[in-house]
């Protein structure tokens, strides 16, 4: 039981092993094994969620093994393989399990080289789970890179027309981010001689140790590390003006990968910002909160305005992601438990919502062969169920109460209104703009007279409708009873904030 995080992380490898034995011609078997292989992680992560003690602060299910020593200048730097879960990672692990399984179902649309696809897909899951569960920075970095490489190939081989260019841009940007992260981690290693998160917490929250550090000129170094981390995760999130890679990925990657990308991979940015920014560098975060708030504001408005004039449905959603990630930034910048909770809520909720919407896009592309808004219209006539789901997803996207998006937006703004009311008030403009662009996208495709040449479009099969309804169920569940994910994270976030002295 204590080893649950490790089991979750490595469980997909079981599927990899099985897949390796299946000849590549037997596509049906490969597909179903690929989908089934995501189930162990899902079941285990739900088990983790159920057995997670919401009344306890700190890391649970922690376990660590000695990994290797690095002898440096007469000292031994210890590297541990440590995993564990706390309130911050718990919701994200659960959502990853769910989205990966559903994305695997959406991967049934993949028509070529399924074996390689599912191998990489499962590897990607290993990376993502590992990122959220690792309690050692070195381990974290390794998992982070696994996701990068796996996603690179998934985009580059199975994407649309410009896939190679997109994949390279993806790799370059994220490689840059990783380089910054590596530098930051090396800085931490040199300063504290350890990359264990628990150890780093001790030092960073020990005022005596910090004072000593700042006397010896470590302050500048700490700031450097902090900025490098913000850049690294800011690229991942992405923060304006680092967003262009993400647009391309949204537009060019296969929809199942975009479900994961937008649903989980982007959240690694948010997770990193909270985990390594707010939790590890309270002082610096406090000082930089103003900048973060402004960046968030720019993200919200910039994304919302641009989403309005895009012709491609996928790009609309991409810019809306930019806008929604701004809300995460606002939540982080508010520096109180409301805002932080809002940021995590937004991560989870946007994960579900964008997964749902990209599932819809996948189904839509399958039927019409296009995602250009002006070539669609009136689809509700031909596919009422799918259109209804799209409408519901759109409503969730624009933050309709009763769905998950509202809770996160409310919390983020609630938090920010305490500290920076004017920025927050300007940010609420984004709520109106969100309605504007979402309604435009939804209504131009499903409302109005049927677009010529779409008379033979069919409605959903059950293999499509069920996963979408499952996602919708989660969205509504969080919206109706947010404590399902609010409870686990609450104590952890409160501790983070109380350490900040705020």
């Amino acid at each position: 039981m204590e080893m649950l995080p490790s089991w979750i992380t490595w469980a997909p490898l079981l599927g990899v092993l099985v897949l390796l034995w299946i000849p590549r011609e037997r596509t049906a078997a490969i597909r179903w094994v690929g989908v089934l292989a995501t189930l162990p992680s899902l079941v285990l992560s739900l088990l983790l969620y159920v057995s997670f003690d919401t009344g306890k602060d700190g890391v649970q299910f922690a376990h660590s093994l000695h990994w290797f020593y690095l002898p440096v200048l007469g000292e031994k730097w210890d590297f541990q393989y440590s995993m564990g879960v706390d309130g911050l990672s718990m919701p994200l692990v659960a959502i990853t399990g769910v989205i990966v399984t559903l994305a695997a179902l959406a991967s049934l649309y993949i028509r070529q080289r399924q074996k390689g696809y599912f191998l990489l897909f499962l590897l990607l899951e290993v990376g993502m789970m590992g990122v959220f569960l690792a309690r050692n920075l070195f381990l974290f970095f390794l998992f982070f890179e696994i996701t990068l490489v796996a996603a690179f190939f998934l985009i580059g081989i199975w994407g649309y027309v410009n896939r190679e260019k997109t994949a390279i841009q993806f790799l370059l940007y994220n490689g840059l981010g990783s380089a910054c992260m590596l530098l930051a981690f090396m800085g931490l290693l040199i300063l504290f001689r350890s990359l264990e998160l628990s150890r780093l917490h001790e030092v960073m929250h020990h005022s005596g140790a910090l004072a000593q550090l700042s006397q010896s000129g470590g302050d500048t170094l700490l700031w450097g590390i902090f900025i490098a981390l913000v850049i690294a995760f800011g690229i991942k999130l992405p923060i304006f003006p680092f967003h262009t890679w993400m647009l391309r990925v949204h537009a060019e990657a296969p929809p199942a990968v975009v479900m994961i990308h937008s649903g989980v991979l982007l959240k690694m940015g948010a997770y990193g910002l909270i985990r390594f920014g707010v939790e590890l560098f309270p002082v610096q975060t406090q000082a930089a909160a103003g900048v973060l708030a402004w960046l968030g504001l720019v993200n919200i408005l910039y994304g919302a305005v641009l989403a309005f004039s895009q012709r491609d449905l996928k790009r609309v959603l991409a810019y809306s992601s930019v806008s929604h990630m701004g809300i995460i930034l606002l939540g982080i910048a508010s520096l109180n438990v409301y805002g932080l909770q809002g940021a995590v809520f937004q991560s989870v909720s946007h994960g579900f919502i964008s997964a749902l919407l990209f599932y819809f896009i996948a189904a839509l592309y399958e039927r019409t062969g296009t995602t250009q808004i002006d070539q669609l219209g009136g689809l509700a006539k031909q596919m009422p169920v799918l259109s209804g789901i799209f409408l519901a997803g759109g409503m969730a996207l624009l933050g309709l109460p009763g769905m998950s998006g509202f809770v996160s937006e409310f919390l983020a703004f609630l938090g920010l209104f305490e500290t920076r009311p004017w920025v927050a008030a300007t940010g609420t403009l984004g709520l109106i703009l969100a309605a504007v662009y979402t309604l435009r996208a939804v209504m131009q495709t499903t409302f109005g007279p049927l677009h010529a040449g779409r008379e033979r479009v069919k409605d959903s099969r059950w293999t499509e409708a069920v996963p979408m309804l499952v996602l919708l169920f989660f969205i509504v569940l969080i919206g109706v009873y947010p404590d399902v994910i609010g409870k686990p994270m609450q104590l952890t976030l409160q501790t983070i904030i109380s350490r900040m002295g705020g």
Binding site: T244, L306, F417, P421, F447
Partner: protein
């Protein structure tokens, strides 16, 4: 019964889920029965609640919803007398509309979807009514908005319906954001989201006056959006693209009145801020006159009613702004009955005329549809303020509160708007029911299932006034133990005379123009052609918004699209180009000759050594 009042909204919700699950497999009759029975049950329950509800803060119930640090946000219900009254109005009108829709929507292929939406709306509206805290209020506030959106866009394939639904959603959303901010501000400045708690904090003077004004104004912004007050009124007339029962339920009786209800619910906040009261009164008065003047010249039967709704909502705001709490609520109630009646009557006319809505192609229906004519006439008389119909009493209360609050200007505007109202309502009535039939084909029948809900509403429109007169029973009942002043004492004798004669003058003018034809509308039109055009085009508000907001926004968006594509991505390309150039230069070095490689290594080594030695140099 009272303790479990939270079940009331859940009944229509259950119907919604059932209808959604049943989908198109169910026959029309089954769907209609499921919806109607659920709402009827809610209605009966509400009646029971109304009978036993105590005064003052009423009855509360709550469950934890989300824990945030030390605070726990709860959801639940609160039933006081205002809520209970609203519960009954909403569930009753909703039930009647459910019954009526069976006939109106006959043959529609998404029949059960329509009933599902109606049930969802009823759920949201009832939930809104019993919300104990601002957040829950906001949640249901948005939900009713979305139901309204869904129902306006019910005929999704019509481009006008699509545009109207979008417009309704976005314009109300603008107001909603105001309410959203108000909720958050209230939380930070009073430490609670409970409506009663917020009011308590404000009454105890724990909140700065400026903040109270700000919160009140932001709440009012929400009400402006929802209740179609100027300047966010333009969505409401367009919303008439939805099915007529929807217009009756949502855009006349219940949802649009939610704004008024919101102001009434948080009335002590407004009372604490004179600025907010002034704003409410002036915006209400302006809207009342403004919308009424547009209503004078419209030719679509539903649009006339829509502008009349806007105008009447302005009346209610006017009353609230003039400290006429009970006057506002009273008018809300009577208006819910007679406006729903009018819309349902219009719906009957539309059905009879095979979905013709232009009043210039109607006429002479009195002979063929006497029942509908009588009922419609009752509605017209009620809204015009002719005694003993309910509108007379409530309107008089409204004007009285303005008069007693010392707002002469507002009072005068109210009287003028009342004249306009009487005129355009009877213009409508005469054009539809009097004279000769001007349309094509023959008017069809109207089913009895559509008639008897109208009958019930007509009875209510006729009798509801006597809840207050004589003796001010309603005011006392509403304000008992709440600390809000009950009423304004008795009216001066000349006031009812004035209002009745003004209304009679409006009716007489309409009679003169459209029945006796002694006064020619063309002459009036010719006398001020530009004035007529301005009214016909609704003061060009839509066009103004398009020019001032929509177009620049679109421009900004396209500009930013270029910016994003060329500047932001251009910078990225610049960076990649720089790297690529560097790479190209270094590939040229890779000419396969060992000596070149060695040379580069040597140069590198030298640089390295210089770098290492440089520390010693300085």
């Amino acid at each position: 019964m009272l303790a479990n009042a939270w079940v009331i909204p859940l009944l229509p919700l259950a119907a919604f889920v059932l209808l959604l699950a049943g989908g198109r497999r169910w026959k029309e009759g089954v769907a209609a029965w499921v919806g109607s029975i659920a709402v009827l049950a809610a209605c009966v329950w509400s009646l029971g609640v109304l009978a036993v509800v105590p005064g003052g803060t009423g009855r509360k119930m709550e469950i934890p919803w989300l824990s945030l640090g030390d605070t726990v946000i709860t959801m639940g219900m609160e039933v006081n007398r205002l809520n209970a009254l609203m519960l009954l109005i909403v569930s009753l009108v909703s039930f009647l509309v459910h019954v009526y829709s069976r006939g109106y929507m006959r043959g529609d292929e998404r029949f059960s979807v329509f009933y599902a939406y109606l049930a969802l709306f009823t759920f949201s509206m009832l939930g809104l009514v019993i919300s104990p805290n601002l957040l829950q209020f906001y949640i249901f506030w948005e939900l009713v908005g979305v139901c309204s959106f869904l129902l306006i866009g019910y005929w999704y394939y019509k481009p006008e319906a699509k545009a109207a639904a979008k417009k309704a959603f976005i314009l109300t959303r603008i107001g909603d954001v105001g309410l959203f901010i108000a909720v958050i501000l209230a939380f930070w400045h009073t430490g609670t989201l409970e409506i009663s708690g917020v009011i308590q904090a404000v009454q105890d003077g724990k909140v700065e006056a400026g903040i109270v004004t700000l919160i009140a104004l932001l709440i009012f912004a929400g009400a402006v959006g929802k209740s179609g007050q100027f300047p966010l009124h333009t969505w409401l007339p367009d919303a008439m693209e939805g099915p007529t029962p929807v217009s009756a339920l949502i855009h006349a009786a219940t949802m649009v009145a939610a704004g008024v209800y919101l102001v009434a619910r948080t009335f002590p906040l407004f009372e604490a801020s004179p600025v907010a009261m002034d704003t409410v009164a002036y915006v209400g008065a302006f809207t009342a006159l403004f919308a009424a003047s547009i209503g004078l010249v419209q030719n679509d039967i539903k649009r006339v009613l829509a502008y009349s709704t806007v105008s009447q909502l302005g009346y209610m705001m006017l009353a609230l702004g003039s400290a006429g709490y009970t006057a506002g609520v009273f008018h809300l109630m009577t208006h819910a009955f007679f406006k729903a009646l009018l819309f349902l009557g219009a719906g009957a006319v539309i059905v009879a005329l095979h979905h013709e809505q232009d009043i210039r192609r109607m006429g002479g229906l009195w002979n063929r549809h006497k029942g509908a004519g009588v009922l419609f006439l009752i509605g017209c008389l009620a809204i015009s303020g002719i005694p003993p119909f309910s509108g007379f009493f409530s309107k008089e209360e409204v004007l009285l509160s303005a008069w007693q609050d010392g707002r002469w200007g507002v009072f005068a505007v109210g009287v003028l708007a009342s004249f306009f109202t009487a005129f355009y309502m009877f213009r409508l009535f005469f054009l539809v029911f009097a004279g000769e039939y001007r349309g094509k084909g023959q008017p069809g029948p109207v089913s009895s299932g559509m008639m008897w809900p109208m009958g019930v509403l007509a009875a209510l429109a006729l009798l509801a006034g006597f809840a207050e007169f004589p003796g001010g029973w309603l005011s006392h009942w509403l304000t008992e133990e709440t600390g809000i002043p009950a009423g304004h004492g008795s009216a001066p004798v000349w006031l009812p005379l004035l209002t009745v004669s003004i209304a009679a003058a409006g009716i007489a003018l309409a009679w003169g123009m459209y029945v006796k034809q002694s006064v020619s509308p063309e002459q009036w039109r010719a006398r001020a052609p530009w004035g007529y055009r301005v009214l016909l085009h609704k003061y060009y508000v839509d066009e103004g918004y398009a020019a001032v907001i929509a177009l620049p926004y679109k421009g900004l968006s396209i500009f930013l699209r270029g910016f994003d594509r060329y500047v932001v991505e251009g910078l990225v390309r610049l960076a990649t180009a720089a790297v690529q150039t560097a790479a190209r230069v270094s590939t040229r070095l890779q000419n396969g000759q060992v000596q070149t490689y060695a040379l580069i290594s040597v140069i590198g080594l030298v640089l390295l050594m210089i770098g290492l030695a440089a520390g010693r140099l300085f």
